[in-house]
């Protein structure tokens, strides 16, 4: 099919698909069409094997053991940290703290930085397209410190409304927390402009990279962001992997968050002294095997090339927007595919997204229906939920066709 070739120019998707065992599953006799990678991606055998191999060959606790297995485990774990740093353009691996993902990372910052540096009357600037994981931790921090939350609103076509940026971003603003890519609208936010504006008033910037990093990549030096949170399971890695980039001087200034295990230097009855960064923030046995396998996911993405990943997603997203519009779906989020990552939220006719997802499921098509942990977005656009299809390296335009075809089925049930 000419269209396929052209639109997927970037990646050899057929070969990629062979690496993902789950993609050969059938659902009620129909091939699985997995369109929910924004929720969690699938894992290639390279990643699955890396975790298995860790257990079968090298399993030991990192940073605690003198014997060979312990050294191997430590090398693999710290090797994954170095890989992660390189992937994000961070020159210093010790600016990477491992966590189980974006949510834990944001909470870490909201505690270890927020509880220490926020004061009554300080402002935290969020956006209405933040995921709950980048809202609720700040609500807690505001409650505990007396800081105040402010929000950048949204335009009708799903962009950040920057018309009152100057009024909202002031010297009172201590931190701007903004997603690099919305998981419900697909919007790619103008990070360079926002980060520059925030730094100009002396505010720090936390980028929620849960979607940005897997789909567009990120370079923390070019962005000059202060914090970047990301989830391994959304970028082909295992659940329980991911982390936080933070500028080193911030990590050093922050208090520890979780206590225990290897984050200490010395423990006395009434107080303790702490390890250097990043280990100061890694309390207890970490998700060692998972971070090691996360390293394999990074290898996989680097071998594909993030430019090609992005090209592929742009092509498939453009195609999906086109086809869904054709059949009359109402699409939420930007129409310009240059600022619309590989996530498409929509309503099809009057079919409730929940019903739509059930019907599509019968056709083997897995989409998500719900508020996507974006209730402020739902309220902004006056819907309780949306249907959402999202794309990653293994998705094809044929799968978009399958989605559109399945929509016809929904129509026939409901009319």
């Amino acid at each position: 099919m000419a269209v396929t070739q052209e639109r997927s120019a970037g990646l050899d998707v057929a070969r990629i698909r062979e690496d993902f065992p789950i993609l050969s599953r059938t659902i009620g006799g129909k091939p699985l069409v997995y369109l929910d990678s924004t929720n969690t991606a699938q894992r290639p055998r390279q990643v699955i094997d890396a975790e298995r191999e860790f257990y079968e060959q090298h399993n030991a606790n990192a940073h605690r053991a003198i014997y060979f297995l312990g050294e191997e485990a430590t090398d693999l774990y710290e090797g994954a940290r170095a890989k992660t740093a390189r992937f994000l353009g961070a020159p210093d691996p010790s600016t990477i703290v491992f966590t189980r993902g974006t949510t834990e990372s944001v909470n870490l910052v909201a505690h270890a930085w927020g509880r220490k540096f926020l004061k009554e009357g300080d402002e935290i600037l969020l956006t209405e397209m933040e995921h709950h994981s980048d809202i609720v931790p700040w609500q807690f921090a505001a409650r505990d410190t007396g800081a105040v939350l402010r929000y950048l609103g949204l335009t009708d076509d799903g962009l950040l409304d920057l018309s009152n940026l100057e009024a909202l971003l002031t010297e009172r603003t201590k931190i701007l927390c903004v997603t690099g890519m919305s998981n419900s609208l697909g919007t790619i936010t103008p990070l360079p402009r926002l980060i520059e504006a925030a730094h100009a008033v002396g505010a720090l910037v936390l980028v929620d990279g849960a979607q940005l990093v897997p789909h567009r990549g990120a370079n923390v030096v070019e962005l000059d962001c202060d914090f970047l949170a990301f989830s391994g399971h959304k970028m082909l890695g295992p659940t329980a992997s991911g982390g936080l980039f933070a500028k080193r001087e911030l990590l050093e200034a922050m208090d520890p968050f979780l206590g225990g295990g290897e984050m200490i230097n010395e423990v006395f009855h009434d107080h303790s002294t702490f390890n250097e960064v990043p280990w100061k923030f890694e309390a207890g046995t970490m998700n060692v095997a998972q971070e090691v396998a996360f390293g394999a996911a990074i290898d996989y993405l680097e071998a594909l090339g993030m430019d090609r990943v992005r090209e592929h997603e742009e092509a498939i997203t453009a195609y999906a927007l086109e086809r869904l519009s054709e059949v009359g779906a109402r699409i939420f989020g930007p129409t310009d595919v240059a600022v619309h990552g590989g996530v498409v939220s929509f309503w099809y006719r009057d079919v409730h997204p929940h019903d739509l997802a059930t019907i599509l499921n019968e056709e083997g098509v897995a989409i998500r229906a719900g508020h996507h942990c974006n209730q402020l977005v739902m309220r902004r656009y006056g819907v309780p939920a949306t249907a959402r299809a999202s794309f990653y390296v293994y998705n094809t335009v044929q799968e978009v066709d399958a989605l559109v075809e399945a929509l016809g089925k929904a129509e026939s049930v409901f009319t």
């Binding site: 997204p353 929940h354 019903d355 719900g370 819907v383 939920a385 089925k409 409901f414």
Partner: protein
């Protein structure tokens, strides 16, 4: 699994033409809940007379399963005594938990929802209105809405 297991005609009929879908300003009892997973919301109103649910209505929005279940529920419990209503709630829950297999004799139209049992995640939708009714009757929290369990 054939789709008409779940999207039976009677369900779609109640969804498109909900019965008793209206506010009831003078209701002695009313209660609201939502299912955060999908954003479904249901408010149930009960007008009581002589220990009977003389009039039961609902408002809300959501998927066909939650809305049709609410509509059918208002018809099924309307006019019943509180005790009978509780028994119906129990039977309905039993059906949705896959523990009982009541027929039309006991549950009338509601048996159409039996197919939902095969879609575990949708059970919450079907049970939402019943949770609200149970709460309105003062029987404490139900088990399905507002939770991630199923």
């Amino acid at each position: 699994m054939p789709l008409d297991d779940i999207y039976k005609e009677v369900i779609l009929d109640h969804y498109k033409k909900p019965r008793n879908k209206r506010e009831m300003p003078g209701a002695e009892r009313s209660c609201s809940r939502n299912n955060p997973l999908c954003g479904d919301e249901i408010t149930v109103f009960v007008h009581e007379e002589d220990g009977r649910l003389a009039d039961v209505s609902f408002t809300g929005q959501g998927c066909s399963i939650s809305q049709s279940s609410a509509s059918m529920m208002t018809e099924a419990v309307g006019g019943k005594s509180i005790k009978e209503a509780r028994e119906l709630i129990r039977q309905f829950r039993g059906m949705m938990a896959g523990e009982a297999d009541p027929g039309e004799d006991e549950l009338g139209d509601l048996v159409a929802l039996k197919g939902v049992v095969r879609y575990p995640i949708r059970i919450k939708c079907a049970v939402l209105a019943w949770d609200v009714l149970q709460e309105a009757l003062g029987d404490g929290e139900g088990f399905a809405s507002g939770t991630s369990a199923h």
